[in-house]
Symmetry: C2
Subunit: 462 residues, 2 copies
Amino acid sequence: MSSRMSSNLKYLFYPRSVAIIGASRTPGKIGYEILRNIIGFGFEGKIYPVNPNATEIMGLKVYPNVLDIPDEVDLAVISVPARIVPKVLNDCGLKGVKVVVIISSGFSEVGNVEAEHKLVEIARKYGMRILGPNVFGVLYTPSKLNATFGPMKVLKGYIAFISQSGALGIALMGWTFLERIGLSSVVSVGNKADIEDSDLLEFFMNDKNSRVILIYMEGLKNGKRFIEVAREVSKVKPIIVLKAGRSERGALAAASHTGSLAGSDEIYSAAFRQVGVLRAKSIQEAFDWARTMVSQPPPLNENVVVITNGGGAGVIAADACAEYNLNLMDLPEDLAAKFREYMPPFGSTRNPVDLTGEATEEAYGDSVKVALEDSRVGAILVLYCHTAISDPGMIARSIARSFIEARAPKPLVVSFIGGVECYEGLKLLNDLGVPAYPSPDRAAAALGAYYRWARYAGIVKK
Amino acid sequence: MSSRMSSNLKYLFYPRSVAIIGASRTPGKIGYEILRNIIGFGFEGKIYPVNPNATEIMGLKVYPNVLDIPDEVDLAVISVPARIVPKVLNDCGLKGVKVVVIISSGFSEVGNVEAEHKLVEIARKYGMRILGPNVFGVLYTPSKLNATFGPMKVLKGYIAFISQSGALGIALMGWTFLERIGLSSVVSVGNKADIEDSDLLEFFMNDKNSRVILIYMEGLKNGKRFIEVAREVSKVKPIIVLKAGRSERGALAAASHTGSLAGSDEIYSAAFRQVGVLRAKSIQEAFDWARTMVSQPPPLNENVVVITNGGGAGVIAADACAEYNLNLMDLPEDLAAKFREYMPPFGSTRNPVDLTGEATEEAYGDSVKVALEDSRVGAILVLYCHTAISDPGMIARSIARSFIEARAPKPLVVSFIGGVECYEGLKLLNDLGVPAYPSPDRAAAALGAYYRWARYAGIVKK
């Protein structure tokens, strides 16, 4: 691949101008939704709708052909019937477009492999890059670019999300907003005729706006290259993969969905493990992990401290720590003595540290502070069960304040168990940058995944 | 155990009168919270506060001693300091109280084993049953009885929840309300000096208001009896156990929490499996399973059909079905032909049945109807990814209507993936009695657990 082609990839994320070929005046049409999202999400570059049968859409001048645009075009989004795509793509080449997102379907995913090869040939001729075909678009929050026909609203954050599935990817965009999960990017890779996961990994590795790369994957076109690239990227930032088609039946479904040959699941697992790729088993797990990784510094060392106000939650957390290879440190006597100041006599300094049901917001804030300030502690897991004598909102504030005042020196993950007030407390913590989950095992799993990555990257010793 | 003692257990759930010994006028005190909950939750029997230093609390006449109450007392809730408990308990015995809930702590959980034995001796002398000591109380929605110091509001439903942990049990009461999960009962078993899980299993087995029994367990006092009882109960209704203390560290934490000897985890697992007890690994999983079991009829046969509008969600579901031993049936041609009427030509009748992103609410309603009406289909899993052209609320209504019109002949579980509109759709489905989850794997796991139980109970063939 020429360096020009490689460098052109950046225009997928940082275009100075975008042409929407197939822009439409009809709500519900893809060419309408994409234009609406580009405008509505606040893109600050130039926007050029292209449609031979219109003169103005959403207040913007419309051009009959991309070649008629009196300006350079960095990114073109094509949403026209499959049979017209080659002609339009060729026009883009003549125009000097850097990257083309081909939304249109009707190519290899329905067996039309030849037509797809043709697209790649045209693009290569002009040094253009192609995302797609058969994609829902690209989103990059640092550029305020939402060139997708998914939801318009997405929270800004540090997770780069790559999806091989269209419907699932779009649905998850909405879900992340509901769950207050921030994204740097969403890339729909579709048929991967040109741009594939490896290219995106290379871009995101050097992208300071992305701290974790999360991939929904059904299959790989070039597994060897992916593994080589992932090996290097994983040393810099975590890669989480939800690889579907694990089972025989799932692999069959994947084959009929994206035409992916899922390959032996054991081979994927072994290869991923070797190069530090974290394999998640569910959507929830993947985003749970990512939420902790983007907001927290890496663990300082292998010693985890669990702080709780309920013995049962502590037992569940201890089980989860064992499952996810987290080492509950045996507290040195001087440290145990400090914790004892914040609990009644029947509390426990056996890790999990049990502040008991009498724990107030001060006890939480102060004991979290102790754990944050002691450099022998590598990471902290805080659990809270709603009690009649404490207010989850105040507990949340108290924990977050200690974390912020200590300047976030090590990972802190939290779980609140209870009703609507706990739910509000969880939202508050997440909004303040402290990852918080509704159950202890999910919090422990997220921390466990972070440790797995940190061990691979050599940040903590294995 | 005498039959009188055994029959007295029913007064824990169906008392005609309740005495609250240690009732208090001070908000925040346990003796206040329990009285407030009993009154506020609408208990229709007689309520007798007992406190030698008060004459009226919350508008009710207060008695100095339980013996002064001019009426029979079926249930007494004791919340007084540990050292006074034996005297008060003896008074209860003299009064002819049937069941006593001893809230007070300070017994075997802090090493005070002798004092606890003494309580049992007193109770035995009078044929009384004891719940506790060291509990947060009992709740039974059919009797409008909330004799706990947990939250006052709980949704009525069919899950009987037994908790060995206090703080966790209280926190989960609030959580079930948030998650719109209905409960028939919450029983805090605490130190299990007398009433233990097995007694409660026997009661709930014959309780038409309870369809599933869900236990948070750290340890058992009499494992052999539990297994014998569970074997019989499991034939009638599912038992789900979240057994904590799985790991060495978790077992240590359990020992310091409830004094439970967790025992070898493998032994628990093997014994549970043998007698049909379903072991959940997390709180979420346990309640996910229960939600499906209480609302859905058992599977008709081993053939599961998955209906989706997104290939990716279908692949994830197919993987989950394999993991949870659900058999995706190969559709007979006549059935496939019926589904084809509700999808475009590029849809798929390879199970998962893919209606494609073009699926409307009618397509969902009609295809679910086809699966409901065909007796070769044993259970249905419906997936929906939010798309721009469909409204999750309308999809939810359409699915629920088909289910209700077909008179719920087989289990239907649903997953919606997307933003806030999907969240509202999930709530609507759950409120209408169709279990709905935010991810395909959770829906599949719930159905998988139901099948595991149905195979044990001989409802579907293994």
